[in-house]
């Protein structure tokens, strides 16, 4: 099933550039805080260029440092930050993303690796929504798998839930095992510990 037209995309359609509808978000920008960092970097660049335009000749300017993620964002969207229109487009895009982008909360039993997150985000932005953001949580008791929470729904893909769903099978196996094993041959806890 093809994803619907993202709501985020229509928010910045009023941008002066027609490229606004083709803006992309790098895979490395996973969470809303990543988008916030990108927005701050864009503001810093905008401020720097504004100050540079009104600066006195001969005065020193310190070029703001940008992250690899910000560079990737600029590169994949073919933006020229020396142009005010592009800076405005970027700022508007990031602001809309920060406030309007859909967010999905996913909890794992351990902290996921960056590679894992990139693969997951790639799949989600291809299959769910191109600007979907994630909130990563830690839930050690689930064992394995993950727990996904959207705005109104809750999906438990954990091993715990799997065991719960298969409890009937487990019980039947357990009872069958108890019926086969004579009581005197059942090892005690102490024997098992040895």
């Amino acid at each position: 099933m093809a994803p619907r037209e993202p709501a985020v995309r229509s928010e910045y359609n009023g941008a002066p550039d027609a490229r606004a509808t083709h803006m992309q978000l790098p895979i490395g920008a996973v969470t809303r805080s990543d988008v916030g960092s990108l927005s701050k970097e864009a503001d810093a660049i905008d401020n720097f260029l504004a100050q540079a335009a009104i600066r006195q000749p001969g005065s020193a300017l310190q070029l703001p440092k940008t992250s690899r993620l910000f560079d990737e964002l600029v590169t994949i969207n073919n933006l020229n930050l020396l142009r005010p229109a592009d800076r405005k487009l970027l700022a508007q895009f990031l602001e809309v993303l920060r406030t309007k982008a859909p967010s999905i909360h996913i909890s794992f039993n351990t902290d996921p690796s960056p590679l894992f997150l990139q693969r997951l985000v790639t799949w989600m932005r291809q299959q769910i929504h191109p600007f979907v953001l994630l909130r990563i949580g830690l839930h050690p008791s689930i064992g394995a798998g993950c727990v996904v929470r959207t705005n109104n729904k809750y999906y438990d893909f954990s091993m715990r839930q799997l065991f719960k769903d298969q409890s009937g099978l487990l019980l039947s196996k357990l009872r069958a095992g108890n019926a086969m094993v004579p009581p005197e041959s059942t090892p005690t806890v102490r024997e098992t510990a040895k």
Binding site: P102, F108, Y155
Partner: protein
Amino acid sequence: MHKSLNRNVRGGSEVNIWVLALILTSLFAATGAFVYLAMRLPSSKSDSGSGNPYDDQAVRDVEHIFNEEFREELRNRGRLHFEKIIGENAMFLQQDLRLTTSQLNEYMKVEITKKLQEEFAKYEESISDAKELAMGSINKTQELIEQQRQMMTQQLTAEVVKEKTRLIKNFEDNMAAIVNHYVLAAIGNQIDLNDQLEYVINELNANKKDIIEDITNGT
């Protein structure tokens, strides 16, 4: 028993007292007769002082016959006779006393034995009654204890079955969590999140439609 024994002893004492009184009475009577005779002899001598010569002669003869030596002889004989009677009566009294004592002893022995046997019989009967009563009480107590034991056994069995059922139900209700906890404790460190990516994506893919609908239309 003690009262009857006292009564019997008292009865025997009364018999002895009567015999003793009879003997003493006879002794007193003999002594009285002797004293009377001794008193009569001088009085007859004084009465002989009448005017009749025969009488005087008779008095002299009498005094001659019954002179002082004769009287002394009579006194001695009377004394000896009295002593003999006293001795005989004392012997009889001693014999009677011995007989009475032996009879009294025999009687008391018999009575005491009889009373003791009666008392022992009563005592044995009382002991037997007490024993039966105690045995009845012990039997009743044992029956009650047995009933309570059976009741407690039934209650304990019911409680054990109930607790077992509760434990099994609790285990079955929480079995998923228990197994999950066990698996986590056993191999939790060996579960790699990267190996779960395919499973996670498959699950997300299975629910993709609902997720898209929720994030598109949700607030």
